[in-house]
């Protein structure tokens, strides 16, 4: 799932077929590894429970009581939404448009998009401006927690891949961050899946 996360980073081209294929193959390999280990296959290399993969800095935020993370490189701006202009005939999760330094950006209420309970106050709407190569969207969240360096246990990564893929469309697994020498768990928001979702693409057009 690390690879899947990295797909949102600008350094990795998300559109090349070659990359997608490699990504899928790695995923299959990981899943097979999990299954074989569960069946007690001794030929596999020893588990590295304590080994952590650093997956870089992430912006952490709360949404409907859940702590989520988005790669820092995918976030252009963080703030409180001051101006929101609703537009007619839009789905309920698309709150409208706002003005970011003269640029008009569409506003998505992430809680409503994910069918969560929206806990942000009417007066204060923290937001993240997220983007990939083709699109830029402002998403409102319940609370922006801050920046954290996240890690994923090598083995856990594989396990979680299999679990989370079947569980939620917009979650890329779980990671941990260290706070006061304690490891805290956090869910990884799959920005790529979000930005390329059919639901969003129906409404929000590619920017370039």
């Amino acid at each position: 799932m690390t690879d899947q996360l990295l797909r949102t980073s600008p350094q990795t081209p998300p559109d090349t077929h070659e990359y997608e294929l490699l990504d899928l193959l790695k995923l299959i390999n990981d899943e097979l590894t999990v299954v074989l280990r569960a069946q007690g296959d001794d030929t596999l290399p020893a588990q590295k429970d304590k080994e952590l993969d650093n997956i870089g800095s992430h912006i952490c935020f709360e949404l409907g009581g859940q702590l989520l993370a988005i790669p820092l490189s995918a976030v252009l701006e963080v703030g409180d939404l001051q101006i929101l202009q609703a537009l007619p005939l839009l789905p309920h999760w698309l709150s409208g448009i706002t003005n970011i330094r003269g640029e008009i950006v569409s506003v998505v209420n992430l809680a409503l998009f994910l069918d969560r309970i929206n806990q942000s106050s009417v007066n204060r709407r923290p937001f993240l401006v997220v983007h990939d190569d083709t699109i830029k969207i402002l998403v409102t969240v319940d609370r922006v927690v801050g920046t954290r360096t996240l890690y994923i246990p090598s083995l856990e990564l594989s396990k979680r891949n299999a679990e989370t893929l079947s569980q939620a469309e917009y979650f890329a697994g779980r990671a941990i961050y260290k706070e006061q020498d304690e490891e805290q768990e956090i869910d990884l928001f799959d920005l790529h899946a979000f930005l390329s979702s059919r639901k969003l693409r129906e409404i929000v057009a590619a920017s370039h």
Partner: protein
């Protein structure tokens, strides 16, 4: 500037110059010892330093130093351009010069050094070098057999007066390209004043090769096939420079072309323009040579020669000369854009034409009477001094010395006096390739100081994205300022409140004091007991004689002091706030200015477009073999650059059409008594808030018969026969319409005028055409002043503000409440459908949605709109006013949003959607077909859930409404049971959230009423009450409530219940 400041600057300049000298010496030393593998880089460094010395010295009036550096720079220019190589002599002279400059600088620190000697020494030395190298290539190209010997000879005699040796050798060569006369003159000049000879001209003139005697012949030709590989950074830099100079060349040529329709005497103004063109070509040539774009350098050289001759030697100028210059500029542009393009045939043609023009100009110039040559007052007062045959001569090109002079004249406020009192500069000659004939003619280089300054207007290239960013930032500043102003207003209100409270407090304190005093008089003993008795004075003094203080008094005094302190604080706060307010006011003005300035950056004059238009006409005329000239009026009209970009293609299409279709051939024109040369005229003007461009020609006009015949073929279904001329003229804007049977390279595809119409649509403008057969055609293009500025009417639909483009609105009508209820409205016997945007777009606060349609004001307003051939009336809830709004596309973020074309940002940063009127008609049609509110189901399962909140508490209604809105649902409210029933009857919601205890009709009664009517039995009702007892739950369930939640509610519980009730509306059984 004070004398001390001036001295300080001069000292700094000297120090800077001195800092370069050691490096320059070491570079030269490295070159001398062949100790560098980076000859070119070293040369460039030397050039850079020399150039800097030249510029800085000129800046502080160190003329001789500047001129000396200019001499050295000239030679370095040649070396870098490959026109000259490094050798011992060059290096030695440069080393000497560097040393001399060092000595000069040292002397400068002490006293006034002899700068003249510095300059003369350097000049003599550098001219010696130039003499050597200038003549070599001329011979090299002609004396192939003797080339080796000559080179060997020169190499071996670098220090032994190469001029004499060379001339001795050269004098015996009859087949030389340089005639004996030329040589004699050259010799004579050289001997009389070698410093005045600018022999680099010979280099280019004598040989097609701007290059070098030691290069292969192939390298000097334009080689279309040869790939030119240039460093990317250098190329970009060159491209920018080239664009600027080509633009100037084009602009000057256009001015000349507009002003000159027949052979005319070269006025001061014309000569200035020729000079400007020559200067641009010269700079381009030099830049191209430096970075290695050989084709540009080579053609630039030839072209410059021609310009030299026109500028220096011609007293007259003809349209033919201008055409040749335009062709030359076109070639230059082509090879500047793509050095590998094959322009050999064009060059060959022009090289044949150039000599005939110059010869012609010389001949005709003699025949021009003196009085025909316009002279400026200054010229009349100070006639050109006659040139004696032995006057020292210099090149037609501006020498480095002149560059320095120019720089100085432009940069210095003292430039005028410098120009006037400077050395005589009117001695330039050129030796032309074809001509054995020699021309000695004066050149007028010096112009007025103002003109010079204009010519040196400094520009900075900035990417448009940076301007957009700046616009965004300035917008943000305005938003932040608005936010600050709001805070300031709140603070002002707070301070006012504070002041009022303070005054009240003062009043209370005052009353307390007064009351206490009054109270103390009849009962003097009491306070005395508490306070003064302790000191034993109570009995001795009456309270009127001496104040008797109790604890109360002390507290009262403290309170009084506190009030005084508060007054002081309040006063200070008011003062600070006033300062803030003034600062904010100032900032508001500054932000406004910044926004205005940034917007003005995007405004450019029409003349930025004119080069392309002239070229289009020229090219079309060439292809069609017609004689056409283009005149442009109002080229200084400024508009948003985006408008020009959109308009450029459209205008070029129109011009091509004019030339190809509208203008007759020269023969035909002569037959009908029209001037041989046709004229196309473009007039730009401003009419109110619109920019109007009139494009007219004196051609044959529209051929209505041909249009009709073509239309009969293309549109057999249309009544073409019945069309009048105006209707026929409108056909030319249809896609695919062309009367040309054949497609040519310039027209006939039928896309031109269609493109024009589309461009005008894009710019919110329109086009009209009028034409009388045989008399020409006029197109009138009209559009708002700036693209972005869209005239719009700000209208309220429901509670939401929209900007409706004025182009869609034909009039505004007033409707009575009864008329508002109707589906159609009749105006002048024509029936229009009534469209209710608030209802169609399901906007919040629509009286139509909330059922307030009946009790709305006495009358409503309606906008009569027409778009895409459909007409109707838009019912508006309020009209705010007309304003020019800035159109912002939603394109990059949202597309296919029905009814919204874009948005505009208001001054406070808020956004207003711009209505797409056409979509409203579609929406109305869909709604009529589906008998439902269209649009809200546009996204299928995303239909907005409408929830009616029934509660007598306004707070509950508000909190619940906000919560429901936050979840993406649509709340409406009712304040009691009766109100709820009415609302439900008017518009059935998806869910009702119902309180129990309410006036007029309680919740149970509402439930009973709903259950009694079959239409509402399936309406889910969720009870929300503070009554939690079971009996209430049971009663509600018995009356048909589907859910029961007690106050205060939990978000999750309520959300989950609402979700389940609205997604399973038909599910039976309560959700408890």
């Amino acid at each position: 500037m004070t004398a001390a400041e001036q001295i300080s600057i001069v000292t700094e300049v000297i120090q800077e110059v001195e800092s370069y000298l050691p490096d320059m010496s070491s570079y030269l030393h490295a070159l001398a010892s062949s100790n560098t593998d980076h000859e070119e880089e070293t040369g460039k460094e030397l050039h850079r330093m020399t150039h800097t010395i030249k510029g800085t010295a000129a800046m502080v009036q160190l003329e001789e130093l500047s001129k000396t550096a200019a001499l050295m720079e000239d030679v370095l220019d040649d070396i870098l351009a490959g026109q000259q190589g490094w050798n011992k002599q060059v290096i030695q002279v440069m080393s000497n010069t560097v040393n001399d400059i060092g000595s000069y600088c040292i002397a400068l620190h002490k006293d006034t050094p002899d700068g003249v000697e510095l300059y003369h020494t350097a000049r003599a030395a550098f001219e010696e070098i130039k003499d050597t190298f200038s003549v070599q290539p001329a011979v090299a190209t002609e004396l192939s057999q003797e080339e080796g010997d000559l080179l060997a000879f020169l190499d071996g005699n670098e220090d032994d007066e190469p001029d004499d040796a060379f001339l001795q050798h050269f004098s015996g060569e009859e087949e030389s390209a340089v005639s004996e006369d030329d040589l004699a003159m050259l010799l004579g000049s050289s001997v009389s004043d070698p410093a005045e000879i600018k022999l680099e001209e010979l280099l280019g003139i004598e040989s097609d090769d701007p290059g070098e005697f030691d290069s292969d012949e192939e390298t000097v030709e334009l080689l279309p096939s040869a790939e030119v590989s240039i460093d990317q950074e250098l190329q970009e830099s060159f491209d920018e420079e080239a664009e600027e100079h080509l633009d100037n060349i084009g602009r000057q040529l256009n001015e000349l072309a507009s002003a000159i329709s027949e052979r005319t005497a070269v006025s001061e103004e014309f000569r200035e323009r020729l000079h400007s063109i020559r200067r641009s070509v010269h700079t381009l040539k030099g830049a191209a040579a430096v970075i290695g774009i050989e084709p540009v350098a080579a053609w630039g050289h030839d072209f410059e020669d021609f310009l030299d001759s026109l500028h220096d030697e011609s007293d007259t100028i003809s349209p033919r000369s201008i055409a040749a210059m335009q062709d030359g500029a076109d070639i230059l542009e082509k090879i500047a854009l793509n050095p590998n393009v094959d322009v050999s045939s064009e060059i060959s043609t022009l090289q044949d034409i150039f000599p005939t023009i110059t010869a012609d100009a010389a001949v005709n110039g003699e025949s021009i009477p003196e009085k025909a040559v316009p002279q400026t007052a200054k010229e009349q007062e100070s006639p050109e001094p006659a040139l004696a045959p032995d006057i020292p001569v210099e090149s037609g090109k501006e020498t480095s010395e002149e560059h320095a002079l120019h720089d100085r004249a432009a940069d210095s406020d003292e430039g005028e006096s410098f120009t006037d009192s400077g050395p005589t500069r009117e001695h330039i000659f050129s030796i032309r390739k074809e001509g054995s004939a020699k021309h000695f003619s004066p050149i007028r280089i010096a112009g007025s100081k103002n003109k010079r300054k204009q010519a040196r207007t400094r520009t900075l290239r900035v990417g448009s994205e940076k301007i957009a960013e700046l616009m965004g930032l300035s917008g943000d500043m305005a938003i932040n300022l608005s936010s600050f102003e709001n805070s300031s207003s709140s603070m002002q209100s707070g301070l006012n409140e504070f002041e009022i409270t303070l005054q009240r407090l003062k009043g209370i304190v005052s009353r307390l004091e007064t009351g206490d005093k009054q109270r103390s008089i009849p009962n003097l003993a009491a306070p005395a007991e508490n306070s003064l008795s302790r000191y034993g004075t109570a009995d001795e003094f009456d309270p009127l004689e001496m104040d008797h203080y109790s604890e109360f008094h002390i507290l009262l005094n403290s309170l009084n002091e506190a009030v005084v302190d508060l007054e002081s604080i309040s006063s200070q706060a008011f003062g600070v706030h006033d300062s803030w307010r003034l600062a904010v006011d100032r900032q508001r003005r500054i932000v406004g200015d910044v926004q205005g300035a940034v917007q003005s950056i995007q405004m450019t004059p029409f003349s930025t477009l004119s080069n392309r238009l002239y070229k289009t006409v020229r090219e079309s005329a060439r292809v069609t073999e017609k004689q056409v000239r283009l005149l442009i009026e109002g080229g200084s009209m400024e508009m948003d650059t985006h408008i020009w970009n959109v308009l450029a293609d459209a205008l070029m299409h129109m011009l091509r059409n004019c030339v190809d279709h509208g203008i007759e051939s020269a023969d035909e024109r002569l037959l009908i008594d029209k001037p041989e040369q046709a004229t196309i005229q473009i007039k730009c003007s401003r009419q109110g808030s619109h920019f109007v461009l009139r494009l007219s020609d004196d051609g044959g006009g529209l051929n209505y018969d041909a249009i009709r015949n073509r239309a009969l073929t293309l549109y057999p279904e249309t009544d073409v026969e019945g069309m009048n001329n105006k209707e026929l003229a409108a056909l030319i804007f249809r896609q695919g319409f062309s009367i040309r049977p054949k497609v040519t390279s310039i027209s006939g595809r039928g896309v031109g005028m269609d493109v024009v119409r589309n461009a005008l649509d894009q710019l919110n403008g329109f086009i009209e055409v009028s034409s009388d057969t045989g008399q020409g055609t006029e197109f009138i293009l009209s559009m708002p002043i700036a693209v972005a500025q869209l005239p719009a009417l700000m209208v309220m639909f429901g509670k939401q503000q929209f900007a409706v483009p004025m182009r869609d609105i034909s009039s505004v009508l007033r409707l009575s409440p009864q008329e508002r209820q109707k589906e159609t409205f009749t105006v002048n016997d024509e029936s229009f459908p009534l469209l209710r945007p608030a209802e169609l777009m399901a906007l919040e606060g629509s009286p139509d949605l909330t059922g307030d349609r009946d009790d709305c004001r006495d009358s409503s307003l309606a906008l009569a709109v027409e778009t895409s051939g459909r007409r109707g009336l838009l019912v508006a809830d309020a009209i705010i006013g007309q304003r020019n709004v800035v159109f912002k596309s939603l394109g990059s973020h949202l597309q296919n949003i029905s009814c919204v074309a874009g948005a505009t940002i208001l001054g406070d940063g808020s956004l207003v959607p711009i209505l797409q009127t056409e979509d409203l008609f579609n929406l109305a049609e869909t709604a009529a077909q589906c008998n439902d509110t269209a649009g809200s189901e546009k996204y299928g399962d995303e239909k907005t859930v409408e929830i009616l909140i029934v509660d007598d508490s306004i707070s509950i209604r508000k909190v619940l409404g906000n919560f429901i809105t936050a979840q993406g649902w649509q709340p409406t409210t009712a304040h009691d049971g009766v109100d709820a029933i009415n609302k439900i009857k008017e518009r059935k919601p998806d869910l009702v959230i119902l309180d129990i205890e309410m006036p007029r009709m309680n919740g149970f009664e509402v439930l009973q009423t709903l259950q009694s009517q079959s239409a509402y039995r399936d309406l889910p009702v969720l009870m929300l009450t503070s009554r939690s007892a079971v009996k209430y739950r049971e009663k509600a369930a018995g009356l048909g409530a589907r859910g029961f939640v007690t106050k205060p509610f939990k978000d999750e519980e309520l959300t989950s219940l609402i979700s389940s009730l609205t997604t399973q509306k038909l599910a039976k059984g309560p959700q408890y």
